[in-house]
Symmetry: C2
Subunit: 93 residues, 2 copies
């Protein structure tokens, strides 16, 4: 899943801090194969979370962790527009 | 870098075959940290190549491999529109 997030300019650093904490916790989940965070080179207010779950249950389990709602509620007011998600099937690896 | 590719419906399987071969060769390059290939769940003609290079030189080196131009020329006629790339800075990991 790719989560596309547009952050308010004044919130970019706070968003990075909260999202790094969430990513570090998320990669500890057994069902999480990838939880990369990238920032668009020509527009630092645009981020993508590149999340790869080992199965559908792992995605459900992620939402039930302690860290997920903390991140969700922390960054809610930092977003310039609602975030959007696109689901993918992993072809490689 | 995320490379967004829209493939002609009749070329999806051939595109996957050529792109898998390219991904498998690309992850052998010392400067390539990630070369994931994903297919959009609700539209199997849409792919993203999730490429992470260790530095700018590694991206240049990728273009100079034997496998890159083979892939580029093989898939050129399979695309429904020109591919687009978005450059990112890696925040995590």
């Amino acid at each position: 899943m790719h989560v596309h997030i547009l952050v308010k300019p004044e919130c970019v650093e706070a968003f990075k801090t909260a999202t790094l904490a969430n990513a570090r916790a998320s990669v500890q989940e057994p069902g999480v194969a990838r939880f990369d965070v990238v920032q668009q080179a020509d527009d630092p207010t645009r981020f993508v979370l590149v999340e790869v779950y080992r199965d559908a249950a792992a995605n459900v389990a992620h939402k039930q962790t302690e860290h997920y709602p903390v991140w969700r509620d922390t960054v809610a007011a930092m977003m310039a527009e609602p975030r959007t998600s696109v689901k993918f099937n992993q072809i490689y690896p």
